[in-house]
Subunit: 258 residues, 2 copies
């Protein structure tokens, strides 16, 4: 009998979010599932880790699925570190993070707690995928993407991923029948143009709320933004070697040793 794959599940919206519940349900059909996820929402946490405080970890039961679950007071990256180092008795065969309520396409990847968890697992040599749905609503419709989630996870389990690469998967907000399929993409060159909402507290102190507008000036049809706008699931291979190798020769012409 073939051994079932061991799958670590996490997210950044917190362990009770419908997105992770949908992901757990799908993963239970593939393997043995252990969940280690934040006890509260951690969106926008980037690749934060907890260095100056302690972490609580507690076994919990949230539904009657076959998974084992642990709720953690830390960030998504903390959850992966704790899961691999303290909870699992062997290296997992797969780590999946999400399904995020909201997009992690293009530049959002660098602010994303969902993707930081996937990258953290990738760093530890575990094949890893972050899933996100372009719908911020708590009651977003995850039913329409479950088959895609399962198929992508099975492909990663079967084929593996290249060293130093994890997958960033984003789903358009569409009914299942309207989704046109999957496209392998590059990260679009898009960014946020900030606008701060300046207010005054009842005590007379000024404060700011961060708001912003997403601007995509990248017109390529090979980007994640193009795929999502045109009804496709986007899959971007993401690396954590951040070296801009193409800049090294240029910088070597500078006089930095005078």
């Amino acid at each position: 009998m073939t051994k079932k794959p061991l799958i670590l599940v996490t997210n950044d919206d917190g362990i009770t979010a419908p997105g992770i519940r949908a992901l757990i349900e799908v993963m239970n059909t593939i393997g043995d599932v252990v969940v280690v996820a934040p006890d509260s929402p951690q969106s926008g946490m980037g690749h934060a880790i907890t260095l100056d405080s302690m972490l609580y970890l507690e076994q919990v039961t949230i539904d009657n699925g076959s998974q084992k679950e642990y709720s953690c007071s830390g960030t998504p990256a903390d959850c992966v570190k704790l899961g691999i180092s303290e909870i699992l008795d062997r290296r997992p065969d797969l780590c999946v993070s999400g399904i995020n309520h909201g997009s992690n396409s293009s530049i959002n990847v660098i602010y994303s707690g969902t993707m930081s968890a996937a990258i953290e697992a990738g760093l530890e040599g575990v094949p890893s995928i972050g899933f996100s749905l372009l719908d911020f609503n708590w009651n977003a419709n995850f039913e329409s993407v479950k088959e895609y989630v399962k198929n992508i996870a099975l492909n990663v389990l079967e084929n593996g991923l290249q060293e130093g690469v994890v997958l960033n998967v984003n789903f358009p907000k569409l009914e299942k029948e309207a989704i046109k399929g999957v496209r392998i993409c590059r990260q679009a060159k898009a960014n946020w143009v900030e606008k701060f909402d300046k207010r005054v507290s009842p005590q007379g102190k000024e404060y700011y709320w961060l708001t912003g507008k997403f601007v995509n000036l990248d017109k390529g049809d090979d980007t994640d933004e193009w795929a999502l706008e045109n009804g496709y699931v986007s899959v971007v291979p993401v690396q954590f070697d951040l070296t801009a190798h193409h800049s090294i020769a240029k910088l070597n012409t500078w006089d930095l040793n005078k």
Copy 2:
């Protein structure tokens, strides 16, 4: 008369840290300096941004230098966003972050608040540098690296940086005379092997502290780790297009549309 460059300074150790005070002192000799930095330490914050809370920003005077200074309740990335969007009346010519108390070489770049600030500025099209010294001590010796900081900043102001690239500069913990010079490097393939220190609170509840050992199995002599171990200043060009372009063709052979 040539206009003096406008320089935005930030960090992740907090606005009163000796590392940023040294950086401000150097930048005051080059241009008009505006500081927007966290009001408390933010190490390990990665590229976190504040989405679910408000931000306070307060003009402060910390020493008698010519800079203008603002203390902010947010993360390093928040500081850069607020600085560019709310405080400066024109786009800065340069953003510098640091000097961090401790290394941001190799994989530390992805956990680093110092580098997330530099990357945030890079995203906004501002030439940008993160500086770090391999000494965690509050009273680390920043004197020995000031000339290097100035020369690297002047080179970036003069030559610019390629689009989508910022610099990650790390200094070895050495006396000035012992530093052998500057090397342009790639990010070493190294990582942390976690070890959690498990304890029990006086109330009987278990908790964990994250600890770990840095392991570098990358033997290349073109890495930042090699440069630093051999007495050089490391300069890594860092990009925020995380696409693993070399994986796209491979993934296109998968059957993801069945």
